[in-house]
Amino acid sequence: MNEQRRQILEMLAEGKITADEAERLIDAVGREQPEPPPGAALRPKSRPKYLRVLMVDNSAEEPSRVNIRVPLQLLRAGVRLASLIPPQALTRINAALDKSGVPIDLGQIKPQDIEEVIEQLDDVTVDIDDPDAKVQVFCE
């Protein structure tokens, strides 16, 4: 029961309004705020399925466009595949990444961590607007 209906019923209980007036008021409140369809509140928010990258480069005479749609499932599968990298190769990859200025330990990336990242990706939107280029990264 919403707050307005509760107030109307309280006014009726206190005798400030008659039953007919209360009925009319409740009808009016119902018209203003239509009830959500059944099950709408219980339905979970749909999870993003794809990562989308759009890029338009207008710096040249003829524009260049890139439009990439990658399933997020591919990200999950890639992380699982990365967990199969032999330890000696992992050490060398980590050293090479560190040397390139990306100090990431690939051994620390676990499938359960990537699940958390993917769940939060829904709210992430990268939008870069430049006179010569436009880049958009979002999930859909």
Binding site: K49, Y50, A60, E61, E62, P63, S64, R65, V66, N67, I68, R69, V70, P71, Q73, L74, R76, A77, G78, R80, L81, S83, L84, P86, A89
Partner: protein, 86 residues
């Protein structure tokens, strides 16, 4: 869902489009002898690198299955390329 059709579209500099539709299952059947060789080579590589062959096969399968829905469009002046996996 398993990928069923890979579509390749390529626009040549003269503006003409080339289209190539690759049905995955028939193509895999035709190329099955080569795929078998690739699997054998993969198993040998797993043995050499001490990686679980079952895990590697499962992960490769998951990677291929996850490709469904991928779409890559590149367009640069006269040339354009579209790759779509359905």
């Amino acid at each position: 869902m398993i990928p069923r059709l890979v579509t390749l579209r390529y626009r040549r500099p003269d503006g003409r489009w080339r289209r190539l539709y690759v049905p995955v299952l028939p193509a895999a059947l035709v190329l099955s002898p080569l795929l078998l060789l690739a699997v054998l080579a993969g198993l040998v590589a797993c043995r050499v690198t001490k990686v679980s062959p079952v895990g590697a096969l499962r992960c490769t399968g998951q990677l291929l299955w996850a490709l469904t829905g991928t779409r890559i469009e590149l367009e640069d002046s006269q040339t354009a390329l579209l790759i779509s996996v359905r």
